[in-house]
Each structure stands twice: as structure tokens, then as C-alpha cells.
């Protein structure tokens, strides 16, 4: 019990004195997961749009693949990205393994199906005639797609939240492709795992609190955005 209490006290001290190392780990986590979410946003919403607006053979299969992908275990993603980036692997010449970029790639693979699946659901919830209606009102196809995105923006925001929440909190892929290298690929989750195994509960708790606050802050910001737009 003392251990935990001491840990919490130390954690608070680390937080309030803005410990350099803790800060840099936090910044790196935010940057990598943010980048991965951004990439997933573009690809995920794009894929969602393609699936929602087109009819083609095999569409059902693609949709079930996307839905399966929403629950991809990060460790599995980590494994496959590692194999790809391995020195002797197909993308080995890029020398990306154990770099921050490797984490971004792995997290993008995790978040893209989440955002794609939720975007598809969001777009399919729009009235079916809306698309045709927009076209009859003088819109080009590009403008039509833009209006649809605007119409579905609230559920699309939720998709982004889910994507970010998924990658900021995953540890399996980051540790496998990043390697938890200090100052380079050490992020909040991998650092927490390491400090816990080393018995440094104070730092581990401090990192966890930051992780929670971070997740809360980002979601609160997005929620605020959602709520602000409703009454105009």
C-alpha cells in the first residue's frame, strides 16, 4: 500500500514540476498518434466514401474486411509491420524499423479501418435520396461529396475520436516496431510498460495519469466542437 501511495505522490511531483523526460515522451506520443490519426483520417474517410457511394462486385467482402479490421489486435499489426520493415523484409531498404515513422505506420494501419468503418456507417445513415437530391440542385460530384461529408460531420468526428483513442492507448505495435528507444521511439504506453516492469511505479503512474488526461483532453475538445455546431 505504501508503495502505491509513494508512487502517486512522486507522480504528482513529476507532473507539477514538468519533468523534462516525461514531457518529451508525452510530446512524442501526441505527435506520432496525431500524425497516424491524420493519415488514417484521409485514408479512412476516403475508403468510407468509396464504399458508401459506389456499387461494385465484392463490396460486401470489402466491408466485412473493414469491419474485421476495426478490431485488429495491435500486436498482430506490430508483427506484420515488423516483418515488412525488417532489414531483409520487402521494405527493409527504407530502414524504418525502430524509428518513430515505424510507429506512425503501424498506428495508421490500426486506425484506418476504425475510421473507415465508422465513416461508412456515418455516410450510410444519411437519407438515401440525399445524394441524388444534391445532384439535382446543381452540384458537381465533388461538391456533392463535400456536402455529404458536412452532413455526416458529427459521426465523422466521432470516428476520428475513436481512431485517436485507439492508437494513443495501444502498446503492442509501438513496442514491436519502435523498440521503446529512449528519446526516439519511447511513447507513453511503452514507457509505462517498461517502468512498471522495472518497479518504478511512481513514473509509471505519472505516465498513466498523463495518458488519461491526454485522452480526456482530446476527446473533450472534439466533443466541444461537436456540441458547438449544433445550435446555430
Amino acid at each position: 500500500m505504501d508503495l502505491i501511495w509513494e508512487g502517486i505522490k512522486e507522480a504528482l511531483r513529476l507532473l507539477f514540476t514538468l519533468d523534462r523526460e516525461v514531457l518529451s515522451i508525452t510530446a512524442l506520443s501526441l505527435a506520432l498518434s496525431g500524425l497516424a490519426t491524420l493519415a488514417s483520417l484521409v485514408m479512412g474517410v476516403g475508403l468510407g466514401l468509396v464504399l458508401a457511394l459506389n456499387r461494385f462486385p465484392g463490396k460486401r467482402l470489402v466491408i466485412s474486411l473493414v469491419n474485421t479490421g476495426m478490431g485488429l489486435p495491435p500486436v498482430v499489426v506490430g508483427l506484420f509491420v515488423s516483418i515488412l520493415l525488417w532489414r531483409n523484409g520487402p521494405l527493409g531498404m527504407l530502414h524504418l524499423l525502430y524509428t518513430p515513422m515505424a510507429i506512425v505506420i503501424a498506428q495508421t494501419v490500426i486506425a484506418t479501418p476504425i475510421i473507415a468503418g465508422l465513416s461508412l456507417a456515418a455516410l450510410q445513415q444519411l437519407p438515401p435520396d440525399l445524394r441524388l437530391q444534391i445532384l439535382t440542385l446543381g452540384a458537381t460530384r465533388r461538391q456533392m461529396v463535400w456536402v455529404l461529408i458536412k452532413e455526416a460531420r458529427l459521426p465523422l468526428l466521432a470516428a476520428v475520436m475513436a481512431g485517436f483513442g485507439g492508437v494513443i492507448s495501444e502498446v503492442g505495435a509501438s513496442i514491436m516496431v519502435g523498440g521503446n528507444i529512449k528519446g526516439s521511439t519511447r511513447v507513453l504506453t511503452t514507457a509505462t510498460v517498461m517502468e512498471t516492469s522495472k518497479g518504478n511505479f511512481d513514473i509509471a503512474i505519472a505516465l498513466s495519469v498523463i495518458l488519461l488526461v491526454l485522452a480526456f483532453a482530446v476527446n473533450a475538445a472534439l466533443t466541444h466542437l461537436q456540441q458547438r455546431r449544433r445550435p446555430r
Partner: protein
């Protein structure tokens, strides 16, 4: 100045929809596409608007080609200047009434745009609702907003796909009355898709009767309703009794037709045929229990009541008089005669109320 359509759209593993017709542009007229659900009415409308692509044929307006299958020409919806109102209003949920109406004119200069919105709000009686969201509108209001939105960019033609189908009866009737008024003032041609007989009769200037993907008959609504030219058309147009008969004799401009062992008199449409369908509207049949035997109606058939169905203020009575006959009478009359299943009655039908459609051999 006309819209000419002559095209077909085949659905994979599905029906083929064909359409050949013309609609005058630059003047007010309502063309009704009438037919049962699923007969291809909406497909025709969508092909005209450019929302669906036919497989063969041509569509042109004022000599400008909109679609031409051989040359692969296809003008996108935005260049066709056609207004379209869907069955469910499909308003933009995040925009208020003004925003919805202004959507099609969003590229206009601000002042013109605002003036156009105000004009349409007045035209369709939407004053006071400017700031409402679609979720806070009644079904009738939604459809009026959808109509205003479709009219805002000053289309050359308006396509209405069952615009009253989702409304309750009073709301639909109110909108129907207003609609003719508004569109007449705009001198705009309209194509209206419906499966509702009242709507077709009360709104249409011209009626195209559709069945199984094809336009089977056209003319003024009253003409088509009075003179269907096929058994299927008669059934679609609400003739409660359609019975196959044999021509027994021709006398004094009348035909004597035998159906189920009884003779039915009907006006002779001329021509040489030995079998014909006799079509009778329920409204054209009177019932009596025991009255004078000498009446003006040429057909006085004895039978018995087999079924009674209340529909609003009316009762649909099925009578077996050698063949199944349907009569549509008021609830009041039904009570007066205290009709019950099994009761013997006489059915009176004017000869002129019987439409004869020769059976083609």
C-alpha cells in the same frame, strides 16, 4: 420547344423500362406518370433528371441532347436545369429552411440569393418558418420547403416523385391545391409520378399510363379513366369489375354480352370481335332489394351479396350475379337496405357505365 424522350433502361436480372413521349417546355402543364408501384415510373424520372443512365435511346430538350446512347453523350444533372422533388423530402438536416431553399442558388450574389429565398418563402406560404430546422417541420411543410428548394434555381421543368405519398390526407389535399396554383404562375411544365387515382385525376392535364415498364396508354386523365384500352389498364384505373364475356348480339347500338349465363348490355364501340371484357366501376352500380321492375338502367341483374367491405364513408359490396360484380355504395344506403351477406339483391347498371374492351385474338 419540347422535351423529347425515347429511351430504355434495363436492370440486370430485372425489368426493362421503356419510355417514349414528349413534353412541351415553357408552358404550364402537368403530365402524370401513373402506374402501380414498381412499374418503372421513378426510373423514367431519374433518367430525365440525369440521376440514372438509360442503356439505349435519346433524350433531348429544345434540340439540345441530354443523352444519346450511340454517341455516349450524357449531360450531368446540374446542366439540365431540372427541379426534382423526392417522395421523402430529403432536406438537409443541418440547414434551416432558408439554408435549404438557398442551397441550389448558393453561387448567386448574396442579395439576389436572399431576394430569391424571400420570394419562394412567400410563394409557398412558409413565412415564419425561415429559421426552423427540418426536424421541427410537419410533413406538409417539409414538402413545401423541398418544392421551394427545387424551384429556387429557376429550373425549366419540375419532376415530382410521389410528393404527397408520405403525407396524411388533409395535408396532401392542401398541398395539391396550392401546387397547381404556384406552378401555373411559373408557367413551368411538370411531370408528376403517382399511383394515386385521385391525384392523377385532379392534377393531371395529361396522363401516361404505365404498366410493366412501358407506357401503355396516354391522353387526358378523364379520357383515359373513362376509356381504358386493356384489361390491365381497367384494373389499374379502378374498375372494380372486369369480366370476360361473349358477344351474343348487336342491336340498336348496343351489345348483348353473355357473362356467367346472364346478359349484359353495353354500348357497341364498333369493330369486329366475338369476345370482350366488360369493365364496370363500383360507383356505376346501384343495388335494390325489391323495387320496380321497369327502370331506365338496361341491366338489372339478380344476385346475392357475398362480401361487404367498409372503406371510409363507402361500402364495397361484392355481388354474385352469375359473375362477380362490385358495387360501391354509401354506408347510409347500405344501412337503408340493411344489407348482409347472403341477401338477395338486384344490381342496376346503366349500359353506358359498361366499358367494352375487345379481346384481341
Amino acid at each position: 420547344m419540347a422535351l423529347r424522350a425515347d429511351f430504355s433502361r434495363t436492370f440486370p436480372k430485372g425489368p426493362k423500362v421503356e419510355a417514349t413521349f414528349e413534353v412541351e417546355l415553357d408552358c404550364f402543364s402537368i403530365t402524370v406518370l401513373f402506374g402501380a408501384s414498381g412499374c418503372g415510373k421513378t426510373t423514367i424520372l431519374r433518367c430525365l433528371a440525369g440521376l440514372d443512365r438509360p442503356d439505349a435511346g435519346v433524350i433531348s430538350a429544345d434540340g439540345t441532347t441530354w443523352f444519346n446512347a450511340p454517341s455516349g453523350c450524357f449531360v450531368p444533372p446540374r446542366q439540365r436545369q431540372v427541379g426534382y422533388v423526392f417522395q421523402e423530402a430529403s432536406l438537409f438536416p443541418h440547414l434551416d429552411v432558408e439554408g435549404n431553399i438557398g442551397f441550389g442558388v448558393r453561387s448567386w450574389p448574396r442579395q439576389e440569393r436572399q431576394a430569391r429565398i424571400v420570394e419562394l418563402i412567400q410563394m409557398l406560404g412558409l413565412e415564419g418558418l425561415e429559421r426552423r430546422r427540418p426536424a421541427d417541420l410537419s410533413g406538409g411543410e417539409k414538402q413545401r420547403v423541398a418544392l421551394a428548394r427545387a424551384l429556387a434555381p429557376r429550373p425549366r421543368m419540375l419532376l415530382l416523385d410521389e410528393p404527397f405519398a408520405s403525407l396524411d390526407r388533409p395535408a396532401a389535399e392542401q398541398l395539391r391545391h396550392g401546387l397547381r396554383h404556384v406552378l401555373q404562375a411559373l408557367a413551368m411544365p411538370v411531370i408528376l409520378v403517382t399511383h394515386n387515382r385521385d391525384e392523377a385525376l385532379s392534377l393531371g392535364d395529361r396522363l401516361l399510363l404505365m404498366r410493366e415498364g412501358r407506357i401503355r396508354q396516354s391522353g387526358s386523365p378523364s379520357e383515359v379513366f373513362a376509356r381504358p384500352d386493356s384489361r390491365e389498364a381497367a384494373e389499374l384505373l379502378g374498375f372494380g369489375t372486369v369480366v370476360r364475356t361473349r358477344v351474343e348480339r348487336r342491336t340498336g347500338g348496343l351489345l348483348g354480352l353473355i357473362a356467367g349465363g346472364v346478359e349484359l348490355f353495353a354500348p357497341d364501340p364498333g369493330g369486329d370481335f366475338s369476345e370482350a371484357y366488360a369493365c364496370i366501376r363500383g360507383e356505376g352500380v346501384s343495388l335494390e332489394r325489391h323495387g320496380p321492375a321497369t327502370v331506365t338502367q338496361r341491366n338489372r341483374l339478380a344476385g346475392s351479396v357475398t362480401a361487404l367491405h367498409a372503406i371510409g364513408p363507402l361500402v364495397r359490396v361484392q355481388v354474385d350475379c352469375g359473375f362477380p360484380l362490385e358495387a360501391l355504395i354509401t354506408t347510409w344506403a347500405c344501412e337503408d337496405l340493411s344489407l348482409a351477406i347472403g341477401d338477395p339483391v338486384h344490381a342496376l347498371i346503366k349500359a353506358t357505365a359498361v366499358v367494352v374492351i375487345p379481346v384481341e385474338v
